[in-house]
Amino acid sequence: MTYKIGLIIDDKRYEAIRDLPFAGSLKSMFGGEIKILEVDVDEETAKRILQAFPSARVDARGYLEDLPVAFKRALFEAVVKTRSLGKEAIEEVFRNIEAIKELAKKEKEYVPPP
């Protein structure tokens, strides 16, 4: 089974992906006011993510939710870097997974403001 991770795309993030091939396939909410980029995750990768972040869960739609902010930020950066919405992006994230896990631990008390 393929799962999904939804990445919210604001104006700043859109600028980073506007020239990438999947920029035209963003999912739209609120009449286009919110755009979501869907990253595909296979079953094995989903298990790795769920193991890395015990608070994460799969919702009824098959989306991985309640992921740490650090993971989602890293995933977006990886999507831009690898120009991929699949395994390549996830692998890029897992290269730094220990550092992301450390950041995630601190997220209960501190998240850098925008």
């Binding site: 604001d10 739209s28 009449g31 006011e33 902010v69 989602k72 008390e109 403001p113």
Partner: protein
């Protein structure tokens, strides 16, 4: 037109402003330091100082003090004070045997209540009594599915913050009138929003507002909240320009994940500063109270507070003052249209003898319809009747958790979801506390500092 009558006919003002007179109480030999009620994990879940303030400054009029046992029984039986006026919750000052002994207080004494070690208020001790089993007391306060099946859907437990407050009370209680003898100074930004009932009434009178619709909040406002406030004004029949929205935030014990109090107050203020509400038709204020999350019961207290502040109407939305799925989401609307006979309230609160004068504006939810390009009304669900949009499209609801997800990622929510000025307030306090929501660290800081200085 005069401002609406206070609940019970007279506004309580038990604040000794005369410094010389007030100081005569400061040296009382019997004294008791006000301490927070602690939950099972040791975290503060209530601070009785907030109740002292709300009683003394008239928010809870006609209540003048902590309740004796026969008044607690009356409230539990039919939600009435001994004078017959409608009131939803027992208001109890609980102590341990050790605290009582150390205070030296006995029936008939004037007891100095201290806060942060400083003189704060005086309690005229009329009764010292033992509280019954607190689990049974908590059940009696909120109801059970068996006894109150018209609105209670699930048995209350430790996860319900209000039930936990009553469950965690100490074994003894002190009853009697209270008076503040050292009026505290509010810290910023609270001081800017402190508009107790007497001041609120003066403001309403000076502005000439005829229709004042109260809005209860414990949230930073998103557009759905703004829609509710604005549409409620139309439902209430506000005559321009003599009408206004009175936002009253409940400030008290918080839970991790809530918005911080400072952002709630300034977030609502930002709606006016941003021009989304006219400068002359909107006011933001607060009441000190550790919310009991009692949905319909809480709505009675909200009605009392806002009537005492001078509001003519009160907007009640879905899941009013609720948490979890203990109550039906439209329990408050049930109360204000039919009463709650199982709680001893046989008609809506504004239709019973010695009830409220404030009028309800019962509302369902709004959701954004991308096709219409505007917010559409969904109505209410009750029994077999389910919410349904006014338009024929598929509107999208604003989910609080989805919005929080956007914010915590550091992304600016779209304008159709949250005003940019409101988001900027969230970020301001995010920078101050290192997090956009309440954390354990914030809870600790808040309980140490409280909202006031003495």
């Amino acid at each position: 037109m005069p401002v609406i009558e206070p609940h019970g006919g007279r506004l309580v003002n038990n604040v000794v402003e005369d410094a010389d007179k007030a100081r005569t109480y400061w040296e009382l030999p019997t004294r008791l330091e006000i301490k927070p009620t602690l939950g099972p994990d040791g975290a503060p879940i209530r601070n009785p100082y907030r109740e002292v303030m709300s009683i003394a400054y008239g928010f809870f009029s006609p209540l003048e003090g902590f309740m004796p046992w026969n008044e607690v029984e009356s409230v539990l039986k039919e939600r009435r004070l001994l004078g017959g006026w409608l009131f939803p919750f027992p208001i109890v000052l609980d102590v341990t045997e050790e605290e009582l002994k150390a205070s030296g207080a006995r029936q008939g004494d004037d007891l100095l209540l201290t806060l942060k070690g400083r003189p704060f208020a005086v309690l005229k001790v009329e009764e010292v009594y033992k509280l019954p089993d607190r689990r049974e007391l908590a059940d009696a306060v909120f109801g059970t599915p068996e006894r109150n099946g018209e609105v209670v859907k699930k048995r209350f437990d430790e996860k319900h913050p209000g039930w936990l407050i009553y469950r965690s009370l100490k074994p003894l209680a002190l009853a009697g009138k209270v008076a503040v003898v050292n009026p505290p100074r509010f810290r910023e930004p609270y001081s800017r929003f402190w508009t107790p009932p007497a001041a609120s009434r003066r403001l309403i009178e000076s502005k000439g507002w005829k229709v004042v619709v109260a809005h209860q909040t414990r949230n930073v406002p998103h557009i759905g909240h703004e829609m509710l406030m604005k549409r409620a004004m139309f439902v209430a029949g506000g005559d321009r320009p003599g009408d206004a929205v009175l936002v009253n935030a409940i400030i008290g014990a918080k839970r991790p994940g809530d918005y911080v109090d400072e952002a709630i107050l300034e977030g609502h203020e930002a709606l006016r500063l941003g021009g989304y509400f006219h400068q002359e038709r909107h006011v933001v204020s607060f009441t000190l109270w550790d919310m009991r999350y009692g949905n319909p019961l809480e709505s009675i207290l909200h009605g009392i507070i806002r009537q005492n502040m001078g509001a003519t109407h009160h907007m009640f939305g879905r899941d009013h003052a609720a948490t979890g799925d203990y109550y039906d989401p439209y329990s408050t609307q049930y109360l204000w249209t039919r009463g709650l006979p199982s709680y001893g309230i046989n008609a809506p609160p504004h239709e019973v003898d010695k009830g409220l004068k404030i009028r309800p504006v019962n509302m369902g939810e709004f959701a954004y319809c991308p096709k219409c390009g505007e917010y559409t009304y969904l109505g209410m669900s009750y029994g077999d009747v389910k919410e349904a949009p006014l338009c024929g499209h598929t509107p999208e609801r604003i989910s609080g958790s989805f919005l929080r997800g956007i914010i915590i990622e550091g992304l600016r929510p779209p304008k159709v979801v949250m005003r940019p000025e409101v988001y900027d307030v969230i970020v301001k306090w995010w920078r101050a506390y290192g997090y956009p929501y309440v954390t354990e660290k914030y809870l600790k800081l808040k309980e140490e500092a409280l909202e006031v200085e003495l």
